[in-house]
């Protein structure tokens, strides 16, 4: 069995976040986690090629990277493609997901990867791919890769795949029918009794989904409108007075920019564990474009730029946090009479 394996710059041994721009490379044989995967897949399995790419490069040049990978993998005669584990590295997850899904779709080669359930790559690719639930801890690497191998073998053999809980993958959000022994009435009453007793129960459907967001009507006249900037890139005043966390932030802050034409590096820092923050640190306008907005306000294009910008950190942030953060921000937006918001997201 021939396997092709995809890793990012860190797991490919190039370097950490500062090398996230590393270009696409094709290396012979197994590198990093691919070695473990090869071992766990058994004697007749070989990782013939390890693909390495910097996370930023992969995300920013997704189309070119995917096309180049498809060409190589097509020629490789691979039986299986594996990627990750990506844990909670969001760009890694997106890149791995994009590559695996393209290979699966275009070349018909089964793919297996692993991510933390909150990784944005999951929501994007869960339907197409089998994504093993990796959690966030790299310490679990061996167990995760073992689960990937077990499931990978089934996919190659085209055996039926069991339910997520049994096989260790993240729910793909798909439905299949099954005729069982218990009537719906019995299942419903069983569930209620467990719920009333405070016991664990397995709902047959979960109430979570992204409900469509109704589009607010456009701003008719920007020269009369009050505009506010919000960012989830974690830009905070030096010292991070509100102690906004760099991961799974539970807080947000409002920071005064009245009278400023420009955000200065010495006044700010970045609390965000998910990207290389050097460039924003050097010039915070690269995240909160105050300079451009102030010009537009002075020339009358924008009626008024609100004297504060709001900030939080979007990294690995579960919906349970972000829904609340968003609601709280909306209350302030309404209180302050803001008409329009620009949200900059990393």
């Amino acid at each position: 069995m021939k396997i092709v394996y995809y890793v990012n710059q860190f797991f490919g041994g190039i370097g950490a976040e500062e090398h996230a721009g590393a270009p696409l490379e094709f290396r012979d044989g197994a590198l990093g986690p691919a070695k473990l995967f090869e071992q766990l897949m058994g004697n007749d399995a070989t990782v013939t090629m390890t693909i390495v790419c910097g996370d930023n490069h992969a995300v920013e040049h997704q189309d070119q990277v995917t096309a180049a990978v498809l060409d190589k993998v097509r020629a490789s005669g691979a039986d299986l493609v594996a990627a990750g584990p990506c844990f909670d590295a969001g760009r890694y997850g997106m890149a791995a997901g994009a590559i695996c899904s393209a290979i699966q779709r275009e070349l018909g080669i089964p793919a297996i990867t692993a991510m933390h359930v909150e990784n944005p790559g999951v929501d994007l690719f869960r339907e197409e791919l089998h994504i093993v639930d990796s959690g966030i801890s790299i310490a679990k690497m061996r167990d995760i890769v073992a689960t990937m191998a077990k499931l990978g073998k089934k996919l190659v053999a085209r055996q039926p795949v069991g339910l997520p809980a049994e096989e260790g993958y993240i729910s793909r959000g798909l439905l299949r029918d099954q005729l069982g022994d218990k009537t719906a009435a019995t299942r419903m009453i069983d569930m209620l009794i467990a719920k009333m007793d405070g016991e664990k129960f397995d709902s047959e459907m979960l109430p979570n989904a992204f409900a469509p967001v109704p589009m607010p009507a456009r701003i008719k006249d920007m020269s009369k409108a009050k505009l506010m900037v919000i960012t989830d890139g974690g830009l905070v005043p030096k010292g991070n007075p509100d102690k906004i966390e760099g991961t799974a932030a539970t807080r947000w802050g409002a920071y005064n920019i009245a009278g400023s034409d420009d955000l200065r590096s010495e006044d700010y820092e970045v609390s965000h564990g998910g990207y290389d923050t050097r460039f924003v640190q050097d010039d915070p306008d690269r995240l909160v474009p105050l300079d451009a907005l102030r010009e537009l306000e002075k020339s009358g294009v924008i009626g008024k730029l609100h004297e504060e910008f709001l900030s939080t950190c979007g990294r690995s942030n579960p919906l349970s946090n972000t829904r609340r953060l968003g609601r709280e921000m909306v209350e302030k937006i309404k209180r302050d009479g803001v008409d329009a918001v620009i949200l900059t997201s990393t």
């Binding site: 959000g173 439905l175 029918d177 009537t183 719906a184 009435a185 979960l206 109430p207």
Partner: protein, 425 residues
């Protein structure tokens, strides 16, 4: 308030000269039935047929399936439809268990959704999920006068369904039943179950997605127009107070499963076993707009909370997709009043994706039973016998053909009878 079911198991139905029950063999007089059904001026002619489990035969479209039952001692059968509209659920009712009266329609109920309508299949792998394939059915094949309005035609089917069902069960009145089932008393008076969780069943019996016909019988013969939620004793559900709307919905609701209501019967069983205190039920209607929904949901939730003093509620819906909003809103209100809920929804996800299945997004409504069926098709063979009201319908049903599981009557059901669920993977 106490109901006793006198149960007579039926293993066969045959035509003969006289209606009679001999052991478990029921004999019906076709001519007598003919006269009975033609009492309705809307019906020009009627044919009857008998189908048995395991036979290679098929019938459809099915209007409704009714279990033959008759009240003893002057009780009212199907109050408000044929009997006086007194309260159901008291006294003795004789039941021909294992038998059914199934009325065929002369047209597909919803041609845009399916040409065949609901099909009764008596053998083969498609029957695995349906309780109806294990019953002996007396099929009623009516021929209504041409040119009648649709609601008049459907009303005629409704009346015929209950008249024939009651008539058949009268054969048992003079016989000793094989067994009787008397239901434990339930309600506010029961001091013996203090400390057990108080559970209510809240069931939608109609959806205002459609306007009912003026004379459409649903609850005690009334059409539910203007109705607010009402407290019913569980025995009322079991004893003829309710029939489905004249217009069928794909989710599946039959009189048979009001009479044999899976939720009510299971709650009774656990009440009897002293696992819960089954305190009562609320019958409600899914609203026709947002204002109506608020009215219905608040009323139903408050009946459960303040009149029935519920600790927990199980809930079913009626109709199509929109009533899920009523279901979830009522459940949300209950949860906020400290009442735990579990709800049963219908599968509307034709693309087999969970996102398409989620008709509400209320975090507190997190105990959900998911009736499947949208993703399953059966290959059914050519049937040796096809019974239908018109030759073109018979031709449509002949087979071999592929049929959605939703269209095999009994596989999907909104009253809790279905064993087909959708798994998330």
């Amino acid at each position: 308030m106490q109901l006793t079911l006198a149960v007579h198991p039926i293993t066969d139905i045959q035509f003969g000269t006289r209606l009679s029950l001999d052991g478990s063999a029921l004999t019906v007089d076709g001519e007598e039935l003919h006269r009975l059904v033609l009492e309705d001026a809307a019906i020009d002619n009627v044919a009857f047929d008998i189908v048995r489990p395991g036979e290679s035969c098929r019938a459809g479209p099915i209007f409704d399936v009714v279990e033959p039952r008759a009240k003893a001692d002057g009780g009212s059968d199907f109050p408000g439809i044929i009997g006086a509209p007194t309260t159901a659920g008291m006294g003795t009712t004789h039941v021909l268990a294992g038998a059914a009266v199934s009325v065929l329609a002369e047209m597909s109920p919803d041609p845009s959704r399916s040409a065949t309508g609901r099909v009764l299949e008596m053998s083969g792998s498609a029957t695995a999920g349906s309780a109806y394939s294990k019953l002996c059915h007396l099929l009623v094949v009516p021929q209504t006068k041409p040119g009648l309005p649709r609601s008049t035609v459907l009303k005629a089917y409704r009346v015929a369904s209950v008249k024939v069902a009651v008539h058949l069960a009268r054969a048992a009145l003079a016989q000793a039943p094989a067994s009787t089932q008397t239901f434990e008393p339930i309600g506010a008076e029961d001091k013996s179950r203090e400390g057990l969780s108080r559970v209510v069943y809240i069931g939608q019996i109609f959806s205002r997605q459609r306007k009912p016909a003026v004379d459409e019988p649903i609850i005690y013969g009334t059409n539910t127009d203007g109705m607010l939620p009402v407290i019913l004793h569980p025995d009322e559900w079991l004893d003829g107070a309710l029939v489905p709307s004249l217009n069928s919905w794909f989710g599946g609701t039959e009189t048979y499963f009001y009479q044999n209501h899976p939720v009510v019967l299971d709650l009774y069983r656990r009440h009897q076993a002293r696992e819960i205190n089954f305190v009562g039920t609320v019958a409600t209607v899914a609203g026709n707009d947002n204002v109506d929904r608020v009215r219905q949901c608040h009323a139903a939730a408050n009946l459960a909370k303040w009149n029935l003093r519920a600790d927990g509620a199980v809930m079913t819906k009626y109709g199509g997709g929109l009533p899920h909003a009523d279901l979830s809103e009522t459940a949300r209100l209950l949860e906020h009043m400290g009442i735990k809920t579990a709800v049963m929804v219908s599968d509307v996800a034709r693309d087999r994706r969970v996102e398409s299945a989620l008709l509400f997004n209320v975090p507190e409504v997190n105990a959900i039973v998911y009736n499947g069926g949208n993703g399953t098709e059966y290959e059914i063979p050519k049937a040796a016998r096809v019974i239908a009201a018109k030759p073109e319908l018979a031709a449509l049903l002949a087979g071999p053909m592929t049929i959605d599981a939703n269209n095999i009557i009994g596989v999907t059901n909104q009253q809790g009878a279905s064993r087909m669920r959708s798994l998330v993977y």
